[in-house]
């Protein structure tokens, strides 16, 4: 076959491949691009309480700057994000180590350890709402059994965020543990053998070998959890609806209420695009960190 004929055949093959994959590519792009473009467009519109729509330019974004609820929501979002992420990473690594070393743990116990994250968040929210009810719930009953004072839990403006962070950590720590456990199982045994020969203590082995080698895996888990934590919605919506007052009014809850309860879809779109930018920023930052700790 001549060179020209071979080139023609290759071009034809490329064309066929492009034609065959085009519908899937177009569909995927449309499914991702359309909602984003539509939301961007909505962010430049203003809607009156009656749903009347008009072009607003950047008014929705300039309103964000002077909106107390936006800054408050941002602060609550960040506080919840940091608290939950730290809890989940610390306890996730701990749980992974327990599961890794307790090799004789029965399968059912392992399954129980990791079962919370398989529960729908709505069910988890409802369950904790009942447990933490200051009057009817089991949590205060247990505290009182140990002579401790009862707490208002989700009804306290001070304790609501730590309580929500605890609920989310209860649910998602096993997920982090599962990721870290995968990382632990892939670590090279030769490094541990060398450490053992050198007489390193278990703590030194963890500090100097396990943790540094696990860092890329931990950062991956952090990325996955960050996306969810910055968009935190379901458990708060079920348990407090942003209250008491506005003590748990995260950006996502605030945006939802502005859009679907007060019908200001334009401003809600601006809020949600800002939140999307924050999520992207966090993912990019963690990705860079992941690059830095890769081995």
């Amino acid at each position: 076959m001549s060179d020209t004929a071979a080139t023609l055949t290759q071009d034809r093959q490329k064309l066929e491949m492009a034609a065959l994959s085009a519908p899937a590519v177009i569909f995927t792009v449309a499914m991702i691009a359309f909602p984003v473009i539509y939301t961007v467009w909505l962010g430049f519109q203003t809607f009156s309480s009656t749903g009347k729509q008009s072009f607003a330019g950047l008014a929705n974004y300039s309103k964000l700057i002077s909106d107390y609820e936006f800054w408050h929501g941002l602060w609550i979002t960040i506080a919840l994000f940091v608290l939950s992420l730290v809890l989940q990473l610390v306890f996730g690594v701990w749980l992974a180590l327990v599961l890794f070393h307790a090799k004789r743990l029965p399968g059912i116990v392992r399954s129980l350890f990791i079962s919370p994250f398989m529960m729908p968040p709505v069910v988890a929210g409802m369950m904790w709402l009942v447990i933490l009810d200051p009057s009817l719930g089991a949590a205060n009953y247990i505290l009182q059994l140990f002579g401790l004072p009862p707490s208002d839990w989700l009804a306290s403006p001070i304790w609501v965020i730590p309580t929500v962070a605890l609920i989310d950590s209860w649910q998602w720590t096993p997920y982090v543990a599962l990721i870290v456990l995968g990382g632990l199982q892939s670590l090279p045994p030769s490094v541990y053998e060398a450490a053992q020969i050198d007489g390193a203590s278990p703590f030194k082995t963890f500090q100097r070998i396990t943790l540094p080698l696990l860092l890329p895996t931990i950062v991956t888990a952090a990325i996955l959890r960050s996306v969810d934590l910055l968009r935190f919605f379901d458990i708060i919506y079920i348990t407090t609806q942003g209250g008491p007052g506005n003590a748990s009014n995260t950006l996502n809850i605030y945006g939802f209420r502005v859009g679907f309860e007060f019908f200001n879809i334009g401003y809600a779109s601006a809020l949600m695009l800002t939140l999307t930018a924050i999520v992207f920023g966090a993912v990019l930052a963690f990705n860079r960190l992941r690059g830095a700790v890769a081995w």
Binding site: S135, L136, E261
Partner: protein, 433 residues
């Protein structure tokens, strides 16, 4: 602004015309006219819709139409509706609505189909539109257009434990001051129970608080301005929040109907101020059947001005088959169906059903049902449908009322600070009206 007093709205022109025309059109009415069509119903998955949809098959048999039900919890239903209506979609033909909450807003947005002509011209002989609560119909009329047909009648009522009252030497309260005095006495007499419980969750507060405000003689708006800092407004805010703070359960700021009903049904509250719709839930298991008394909320300086609302069925303005949709609305709000629903504990918005012998027999079976019906009779005759501010942004106004009450329950502000902050925010909302 004056509350919409039910007693003052006895005559409704649109219904008067309808009543005259009914006889002429009823003879031509054919339930099978839209046989083969499919009507989509966006339903709130509450006891009212649940009771109605028990008879879905009856509607399909009667009309030959298919009823497609799209059911959600209340907030999710509104979320779906907003999406559908903003897209000008004809996906939904009929939807459930609370005129007291979103009526002004949806009417101004043009989301309600106009039922005026259909209620006049397209009615079956047995429908009797004039037999529906005139006051609820009035509350569903915006700009002269009838926007929905009432499905039920409801409002917050006062549940109290007769055994605890007897043990503590108390009489049934007649005034708000009696409620406070009873709460004080129960706190000392029976420390195991919560003396008083009502709604503390921010978006839910307005439903019960409005009754308190109206009973003490307060109004939401005076001279075009928010009026919470008036003497009566402050009295209502102070009394409502004090009752919950000093005599309510811990964590009451997260309490809505689910928690209140659970607390009362479990025997852990002596007094509860909650929706008449919760009777069935409260009586589940039968533990409260013999020791509960029911009243409209006790009087304030202005007497008893109970909150009375009702769910309505509206036809979407984007529906491509409003006539077929109307047939479903008509069937669902007919005397026959409303009687069946009443026997399931859904308070009927038709006096004729409320007086039906079969329904009366059901009511007479239990003293607590009799008291429930007596309280509903007061709601029907004296009630106000004003829950929150009578403005287009009513749902948002409820947030600020709830915020003021929560600030007081949590002792984060004084009454003066809480009402002033609320008035400032609410004046801005009123200005947008």
């Amino acid at each position: 602004m004056k509350a919409r007093m039910f007693a003052t709205h006895v005559a409704l022109p649109v219904l008067a015309i309808a009543a005259v025309s009914v006889q002429a059109n009823a003879a031509d009415f054919d339930w099978m006219k839209f046989k083969g069509k499919t009507v989509t119903f966006l339903a709130n998955n509450n006891p009212v819709a649940q009771a109605l949809l028990t008879y879905k098959a009856d509607f399909e048999k009667l009309t030959g139409m298919t009823l497609k039900v799209d059911g959600y919890q209340e907030q999710q239903m509104r979320q779906r509706l907003v999406t559908v209506m903003n897209a000008n979609s004809d996906e939904v033909d009929v939807f459930m609505t609370l005129p007291s909450r979103e009526g002004e807003q949806f009417a101004a947005a043009g989301w309600y189909g106009d039922l005026t002509a259909m209620a006049k011209n397209e009615v079956a002989k047995e429908y009797d539109p004039a037999g529906l609560s005139q006051a609820l119909l009035k509350a569903a009329t915006f700009g002269g257009k009838l926007t929905s047909m009432p499905m039920n009648l409801e409002g917050p009522i006062f549940y109290y434990r007769t055994d605890i009252f007897k043990k503590c030497g108390l009489e049934a309260p007649k005034t708000i001051k009696d409620v406070e005095a009873a709460a004080e006495k129960i706190k000392a007499c029976d420390s195991a129970v919560t003396p008083f419980v009502s709604r503390g969750l921010k978006p839910a507060v307005a439903y019960t608080f409005s009754n308190m405000l109206h009973n003490v003689g307060g109004t939401y708006i005076a001279n075009g301005k928010s009026n919470l800092c008036s003497a009566k407004g402050k009295e209502a805010l102070d009394t409502y929040s004090r009752l919950l703070r000093d005599f309510g359960p811990p964590g009451v700021v997260n309490y809505s109907f689910q928690q209140i009903s659970a607390l009362y049904r479990g025997g852990r509250a002596a007094m509860a101020f909650e929706s008449s719709n919760e009777l069935r839930t409260v009586m589940e298991g039968g533990a409260r059947l013999k020791d509960t008394g029911l009243l409209p909320f006790p009087a304030g300086e202005a007497g008893q001005v109970p909150t009375t609302i009702g769910w309505g069925m509206a036809v979407s303005s984007h529906s491509k088959q409003p006539d077929a949709a109307w047939y479903f609305v008509q069937w669902a709000t007919s005397p026959e169906v409303q009687k069946k629903m009443a026997l399931q504990g859904i308070a009927p918005p038709r006096p004729s059903v409320a007086n039906d012998p079969e329904y009366r027999k059901w009511i007479d079976e239990e003293p607590v049902r009799k008291e429930w019906q007596a309280a509903l009779d007061v709601l029907a005759t004296k009630g106000s449908s004003e829950v929150g501010y009578p403005i287009v942004a009513n749902p948002q106004s409820r947030e600020f009322i709830g915020q003021a009450v929560q600030d007081l329950i949590l002792k984060q502000k004084t009454v003066d600070q809480a009402c002033a902050d609320a008035d400032k925010a609410l004046d801005a909302l009123i200005a947008l009206n």
